[in-house]
């Protein structure tokens, strides 16, 4: 929907959130990148099309990327999948949903 709002994408347990600018640091270029690494093997993957590349920076355990083209985020699983979503051109930060554990009283990453 073209309503001029840059919407974050919540893809399973991963939040892909638009930010103003990339943090300082050396980026690397990829056509595909796992933004949500899953213990159970069904990763969430950022994919470019037609040979285009993302600029990716990983800093303090967080992933930042820039894309100058429409990309997509997909879920590599055979069942119970999260729908593929389009990622508009922009600068983004990817963070992982955390869940509180009432037994141990600590937060841990949510896994699919």
């Amino acid at each position: 929907m073209k309503d001029n709002i840059k919407r974050p994408i919540l893809h399973g347990e991963n939040a892909i959130v638009p930010i103003e600018k990339m943090p300082e640091g050396k980026t690397k270029r990829y056509t595909k990148y796992i933004v949500g690494h899953s213990e159970t093997g069904h990763h969430h993957v950022l994919e470019a099309v037609r040979g285009q590349e993302f600029d990716i920076l990983v800093q303090d355990g967080e992933i930042y990327f820039t894309n100058t083209f429409e990309a997509k985020v997909t879920h590599k699983k055979l069942h119970d999948i999260h729908e593929t979503k389009v990622v508009a051109p922009g600068i983004y930060k990817v963070s992982r949903k955390l869940e509180y554990d009432p037994f141990t009283k600590v937060r841990r990453a949510v896994f699919d």
Binding site: R7, G12, S38, G41, H82, K97, E99, V110
Partner: protein
């Protein structure tokens, strides 16, 4: 690399439980000889538990004099220095010579050596990560070490002696085996006894004790069941079993005694029962995870205290047709926040959210939230907090 990796994983875990006793015996005798030890008697049994039982029988009969002999570590250090480190240096020099020959020899020597060591480490890390570490992780970390720890605790619970396990067995060293095999296939690893060693690792020996004058080894499991993340897991059958009837039950990589496992998978476990059981944190977490959301909430006597407003706001703003097209998740049930008083008889109040999978209607799950957030009775705030976002960002986010 992928073919090598997959073959080693398959052979070690699901390649059947037959043992090539000739290759196994040749390999074990070769390793003892490398360590300058007397040729052992090799005994084949059917399961890791049987290995420990056999060692205890021999010890009680006086055939084995000590529990903690140095044999397994002597063998390991000789195999390591004779095989692994030689192959490792062959790989290094091969990669170095192939790359160096492409590099202009006029390049500054400091840059040159930085490039060489960087390329070596990049090649090594690629092969390691794609072959060795994946095989090691799936075979050793996710299966072998789980089995080892269960065997250990079962033997101790019967007040028997636990004999140290050998490293040079298929279940433990398959990652190294895959690494050596890959380099042998591409012609870099050349060692006169490499075939004996690789044939041994592939012979079907899964677990064993290397002792003075005797080596007791067992065959691979007859059945291994895992989840998509390669963790031992089955809600139908034992996750791993051997032909002598030795079985272990796991759910998502966490072990359970059979009676507890049965109660969990049949949805007959109640929270009061769970609270009374002597279970570890991981076991409790998996047991709760396996309970259906509605049953869990009912058993906890959870009270509904707030409903998320996000979906209602989107429907109000865009209408059902546009939401169906652009925000299909908004047609799902909203997040519901629950309060659980006296959680698991602790006297504490906890909070959890029940939510419907954004892409799969009718699939629900529970996530917990810190009490200091939950007590604010705002379901959207709880979701935003869990995602590390502002509430404003959460309310406009698309979901999948």
């Amino acid at each position: 690399m992928i073919v090598t990796k997959d073959k080693w994983i398959t052979d070690c875990l699901t390649g059947g439980d037959e043992v090539n006793e000739t290759d196994a015996r040749n390999g074990i005798e070769w390793m003892y000889e490398l360590a300058d030890l007397k040729k052992p008697i090799v005994i084949f049994v059917d399961s890791p538990l049987a290995v420990q039982y056999a060692a205890n029988i021999l010890y009680n009969e006086g055939a084995i004099k000590q529990v903690h002999s140095q044999v397994y570590s002597q063998v390991d250090s000789q195999v390591h220095s004779q095989v692994y480190s030689q192959v490792d240096s062959q790989v290094y020099s091969q990669v170095h010579s192939q790359v160096y020959s492409q590099v202009d020899s006029q390049v500054d020597s400091q840059v040159d050596s930085q490039v060489r060591s960087q390329v070596h480490s990049q090649v090594y890390s690629q092969v390691y990560s794609q072959v060795d570490s994946q095989v090691h992780s799936q075979v050793h970390s996710q299966v072998y070490s789980q089995v080892d720890s269960q065997v250990d605790s079962q033997v101790r619970s019967q007040e028997l002696k636990v004999f140290p396990v050998a490293y040079n067995v298929g279940g433990w060293y398959s990652g190294w085996g895959a690494y050596l095999d890959f380099y042998a296939q591409i012609g870099i690893a050349k060692h006169k006894d490499l075939k004996i060693y690789l044939d041994y690792l592939r012979s079907g020996v899964f677990y064993g004790n290397f002792l003075d004058n005797v080596a007791i080894v067992c065959r691979r499991p007859s059945g291994v069941r895992r989840d998509v993340g390669h963790n031992l897991d089955s809600d139908q059958l034992p996750a791993i079993e051997w032909r002598d009837g030795y079985k272990l039950w796991f759910l998502h990589g966490v072990s359970f005694e059979e009676p507890v496992w049965k109660k969990i998978v049949s949805q007959k476990l109640t929270l009061p029962e769970l609270a009374k059981m002597d279970l570890g944190a991981d076991q409790r977490a998996v047991a709760i995870q396996m309970l259906r959301a509605d049953r869990l909430l009912e058993q906890m006597k959870a009270k509904e205290i707030a409903t998320g407003k996000k979906y209602g706001k989107l429907l109000e703003q865009f209408g059902e047709d546009q939401c169906a097209e652009y925000f299909p998740f908004s047609l799902n049930e909203p997040t519901v926040l629950y309060q659980v008083d006296n959680f698991m008889d602790t006297g504490e109040t906890e909070y959890c959210m029940k939510m419907e999978h954004p892409s799969i209607k009718g699939k629900y799950y529970i996530e917990w939230i810190e009490p200091e957030i939950g007590k604010k009775k705002d379901a959207d705030l709880c979701q935003a907090h869990a995602f590390g976002m502002s509430v404003e960002s959460y309310l406009i986010a698309v979901e999948a």
